[in-house]
Structure formats: C-alpha cells, structure tokens
C-alpha cells in the first residue's frame, strides 16, 4: 500500500499551501540567515497586519459566496475620516465615529447584496468608485494630516508596543483568533459556510440567507475600519488613495489561503497563512537581493500554481478537460 498519485494529490490539495509556506521559509532561511531573525519576522508580520486585517473580513464575504472589491477604497475612507475627525473632535470620539460610518457603508453593501440579491462583483465595484468619490469629497482632494503629531496618544495603535510586541501584531492576532472562533465554532459560522456552499439548500433548510450575507459585509467593514485605524495611527497622515489597489491584493491573499471564489470553503487560519506568505515572499526576495518587482511576478506564479493544484486535485487530473 504505497501512496498513490491521487493520495499525494489530495494531501497537496489539503495542506499544499502550508507545505509551500514551510518550503519557502526554509529556502529563504538557507539563503539568508537574517530572514529568520526574530526582529525580521516581527517586522514582516507588522507590515502585513493592515492587509491581513482586511483579508480576515473578506474571508467571511468570500466563504459566503460573494466578493468585496470595495475594501481598498473603504480603507482610504476610514483612514481619512479618522485623521480629519482627530483634530476636530478628538481621538476618543473620532474612532467610534469612524467605525460607525464605515459600518454604515458595509451595511449598505450588505443590504444591496444580501437583501436585494444584486451581483456582489458589480455592487462592490460601484462602491469602490463611489466611496473613492466620497473620500475625495470629504478631504477636498487634499492630503490629511494630524496637526500635533508628537503629542497624541492616537499613535499607539500603529506604533505602540506591549511587552515588546508591536500593537498592530497584537490587534491582528486578537482579531484573527476572535474571527476564527466565530467562523469555526458558532452557529453563525456554520451558516456562512452553508450559504456559500449551496445558497438554495441553505434557504430551504431555514437559514436566513440574506441576513447572513448582510452580516458578512458588516464583518468585512468592521475589519476595514480596524485596518484604517492602524493605517492612520501608523502614519498620522495620509493620501486619499492609501488603500487603492489593496482590494485585489487582499483577494489574492484570501485565494492563496485556499478559499474558493465559489464560496463555501476557506478558513481564517488559511487566510492568515496566505497573508503571511505574501509578506514573507516580499521580504525574502528583498533580502536575497532581488528587486522589489520580482515579488509581483513570484506572487503571480504562486497564485496560479496554488489554485491550479487545488482544482487539479479536485478533478483528479492535472490538465483541464476543456476541449
């Protein structure tokens, strides 16, 4: 009873992303000792935290069978709003106000996709544009800066440390743990899988599909607000386009983590791995002395290989049967 080709395929499909991750880490570590130094690893996780937090929320949306292309411009919005309000009403009020506004945007999208059953790709594409316009209108197109950069406690979220661990890492880890529990251990989490896996069957078994989809967008918006808070607090000033293009990077991380765009599969843990892979690839390639753009090309190859292996294992053959 040796391992057949199919068995290997199945193992690869199930844990392929983790295996690839480990291989990557070992390879880079052999190439450059500094890669596995604690401060380097902490640095990578810290700079991945913002993308990571957003990816956590999008994981819920994707498992629920939808897409969210609006997270990038929504993150710009939260960042600009919280920075602007910081000087007007103070940080203690600015943060909840920003969260409330971001959640309103998420609720609007959730309403359109969940209750009105509109196509999520187009709705969030429209919202990408609309929220970008909203941000520009809010800021008047100018960069937003906090007046007194050294005298505010607001910087603690992006720059602070607790017992030597950067706060962004703590927030990312705590949120990941919380959302992982929500997805894996609660009835709500199971409903998200059910709705994404087979929406019709879920409806027939009494799951309120519209409400579940609505909540996935609320969760996504909440994560975006957290990401905006981290971004604003880290730099204490921002352009209007700070989150531009991040929606697709986030999606790449989620897909790399193995969530199917068809919905119904994926986990928070795998998304975290996907985010870290992107971060460590970027870091590792720089450390071995390659130019920054090589990471784009490597990411391209990895995304396609990862999804290809997944698809191939499911259909039991490497090449597609398309005529």
């Amino acid at each position: 009873m040796g391992l057949t080709k199919q068995d290997i395929g199945k193992v690869l499909a199930k844990q392929g992303i983790l295996i690839a991750f480990v291989v990557f880490m070992i390879g880079f570590a052999l190439a450059n000792q500094r890669f596995i130094a604690i401060d380097n690893i902490a640095g990578v996780i810290r700079s991945s935290a913002i993308l990571g937090v957003m990816a956590l929320g999008v994981t819920f949306v994707v498992i629920g069978g939808n897409l969210d292309l609006s997270v990038g411009s929504m993150m710009s919005f939260s960042t600009i709003v919280v920075l602007d309000l910081h000087d007007k009403i103070g940080p203690a009020l600015a943060i909840p106000a920003m969260f409330a506004m971001t959640l309103c945007l998420g609720a609007f999208i959730g309403f359109l996709v969940g209750y009105l059953k509109l196509n999520s790709l187009i709705v969030t594409l429209g919202m990408l544009s609309a929220i970008h316009g909203l941000t520009l209108t809010w800021s008047g197109g100018k960069n937003m800066d906090i007046a007194d950069k050294s005298g505010t406690w607001f910087s603690v979220f992006g720059q602070g440390e607790v017992m030597g661990i950067p706060v962004p890492i703590l927030i990312f880890a705590a949120l990941a743990a919380l959302l992982a529990m929500l997805l894996a251990k609660t009835p709500f989490g199971r409903k998200v899988y059910a709705v994404g896996g087979n929406g019709q069957a879920a409806t027939f078994s009494g799951i309120p599909r519209a409400r579940v989809v609505f909540y996935t967008y609320l969760i996504s918006a909440f994560c975006v607000a957290v990401a905006g808070l981290l971004q604003a607090s880290r730099s204490l000033g921002s352009q209007n386009t700070v989150g531009q293009g991040m929606e697709l990077e986030v999606l790449a991380a989620v897909i790399l983590g193995g969530a199917s765009l068809l919905g119904g599969s994926g986990t928070v843990f795998k998304t975290v791995i996907g985010v870290l892979i992107l971060g460590f690839i970027q870091n590792g390639l720089l450390l071995v002395g390659l130019d920054f753009y090589v990471q784009y090309i490597v990411t391209w190859v990895i995304i396609i290989l990862a999804v290809w292996l997944d698809v191939a294992a499911k259909r039991g053959r490497l090449w597609s049967p398309i005529a």
């Binding site: 009105l116 429209g126 753009y293 597609s320 005529a323």
Partner: protein, 331 residues
C-alpha cells in the same frame, strides 16, 4: 413582449446619454463658468477623443464578458505595451531607422499585448483555473514586468512625428477617435456577422451545450484573450503616442473602469448577453458625465461618486425590469 423589453434595455444607455446631454446643455449652461456651451462641437470632439483609451479596452472586455469570463490584467498590459513602445524607440538599432522606428515600435507593443493575452488564455484553457483568478494573478505579474524596465522611474521618449500623428484630425475627428470607432466597427462585425461571434454568445449562454455542439471552447478563449491583449496594447499605442511618457503605475484600475462601462452598456456578467454598441454607449456615458460635471464646476471627485451610484442604480433597475434573470455570477 420580450422583444419590446429587449429593445428597451438595448436603448436604455442611449436614452441615458441623451438625458445627460440635455441636462448638461440646459441646466449645465446656466451653472457653467465657461462661456462655451456644453454641446459645442469642440467639446463633443474632446469627449470622443478622451473616451478612446478606456473605450478600446472596454470594447474588447465586452467579448470576454459575453464569454462569461473577465480580464483584470488589462491595465497592466496597457502599461507594459506603453513601456515597450517608448523604450524600444531608444534601442540602438531602432534609432538608426529614423521614422521607420515608429511602426516597428507599434508592432512591438501590439505583439507584447497579444503575447500577454495568449499567456492568460492558455492558462485559462489548460489549467481550468477560472479567468478571474488567472487574470488577477497576471495583473500583479505583468505589473512586475512593467517595473523591470525602469524601476519606479517613468519611461519617456518624445517623438514629434508621433505626436503630430496622434494630435492630427482627419475629417474633423482626432486620431484616437478614429481608432475607437474603427475598433467598434470591427468588433461589431466580428460579433454579429461571424461564426466566432456566434460561438462567443453560445459559450457564454450555455457552455456545456456549446461543447456538445462541437465548439472548441479552449482555443476560442485563447483567441479572445489575445484579442483583448491586442486591444489593451492598441489603447496604449494611441494614448502614449501623444503623451510620450509612461509611469509604471499607469493603467491601474483601468480594468475596473472598463468593466463599469461594459456593465452600463447592458452586458451580463454571467455571460451570453451583451453588445458592442451598448458598450460604446457605456463608455460615452461615463465620459460625458465626467466632462459634464467638470463643465458645471462640480468637483471632479464627485464623478467617482456619481458613476458608482449610477452603476448600482442600473443594477437595481435591471433587476426590476428583468425579474427572471436570477443568474448569479458563477466563478
């Protein structure tokens, strides 16, 4: 009955354009700070010209979306083709060719687009990975190739013969406009008068049935991805012949603008339904809105807001008009 509905849907975008024109020329001219009326000939010419870069890409995207696929890498192909065109003119052997370097540089750029498209198409065909993911990856990968040329520095090469060509007007219309209209005509013929066009609708409508009818879906996809790669490069050729300088971040989010125009033009994401003429309307509608809001002195930033909301409104209206269309995006 269904015919009348169909007609209503097909002409909706043109009705919307008329509405826009009426609004901006009647109300807009009251509010405008400019002494030129909105409907002035020059202004309309400019609308057409400025529609060209996104428009040429959107026309190609229509075919991809009628197939039920999507291409997110067009913005990166656009930038890559532009850089190949401008960079190639500085190569030593090209400089010896005088003005003959121009058509050669164009051919290099267009070939780049076709090759990139072919890579996407072959990956979609041979791996069976969905086009959304293949082109999402390619969007990053091709952007990496763009940076290989000059890092984060812009690539510039100003060739006055080229600029003169791009700024020329023939029969009153700008060069870019002719490229847009020419592309629209060719693609319209392709989609309505050829077997390839009929196959595109058939595959988008019901892929399994198309396969059973003997259509080779894989090669068909490859042709279409090569076509949109070519068009993204053509768009770059038209645009950068005039500007002569390309930033490595140029073309970002073009894919999303193109998709917006296609959807406004009535093409269904699920595939099997849509038209080239509709997309042309979608492209013009966006550009008139952009121009018009500028004309009445609205902040240019409101354009994004308005277009986004219109896109969603179109979706809601479409749902009301066509309750039967429960077809959701299948990725």
């Amino acid at each position: 009955m269904s015919n009348r509905k169909d007609l209503l849907k097909r002409s909706a975008i043109w009705g919307f354009i008329l509405l826009e024109l009426a609004f901006f020329s009647i109300i807009g001219d009251q509010l405008s700070v400019s002494d030129q009326p909105f409907l002035a000939y020059d202004n309309m010419l400019l609308v057409l010209k400025q529609s060209a870069p996104i428009g040429i890409i959107a026309l190609g995207m229509t075919i991809i979306m009628i197939n039920g696929n999507i291409d997110l890498s067009v913005g990166a192909i656009f930038a890559l083709a532009a850089i190949v065109m401008l960079d190639s003119m500085t190569w030593p052997f090209m400089q010896g060719l005088g003005d003959w370097a121009i058509p050669l540089a164009w051919i290099f750029a267009l070939m780049t687009g076709v090759i990139m498209g072919a890579i996407n198409g072959l990956l979609v065909w041979k791996t069976g990975v969905d086009a959304f993911i293949v082109t999402l990856g390619a969007m990053l990968g091709f952007r990496g190739l763009v940076f290989m040329f000059n890092g984060e520095q812009p690539t510039s090469h100003l060739n006055w013969t080229l600029v003169d060509f791009a700024e020329a007007q023939f029969l009153g219309l700008h060069t870019a406009t002719w490229f847009l209209l020419g592309t629209a005509l060719v693609l319209w013929l392709l989609m309505t008068r050829t077997v390839h066009g009929r196959n595109a609708y058939a595959i988008g409508n019901n892929r399994e049935a198309a396969v059973n009818a003997g259509i080779r879906v894989g090669p068909h996809f490859v042709w279409n991805f090569m076509l949109i790669g070519f068009l993204a490069a053509l768009s770059a050729v038209v645009f950068y012949s005039e500007s002569g300088s390309v930033n490595p971040n140029d073309g970002m989010l073009y894919e999303l603008w193109a998709i917006t125009a296609v959807v406004l033009g009535g093409t269904k994401l699920a595939g099997g339904y849509g038209s080239i003429i509709g997309t042309l309307g979608g492209v013009l509608a966006i550009q008139i809105l952009r121009k018009g809001l500028g004309h009445i002195g609205a902040d240019t930033q409101t354009v994004n807001l308005v277009i986004g909301l219109i896109l969603i409104a179109v979706l809601v209206l479409d749902r009301q008009l066509n309750r039967k269309g429960q077809g959701e995006l299948k990725i």
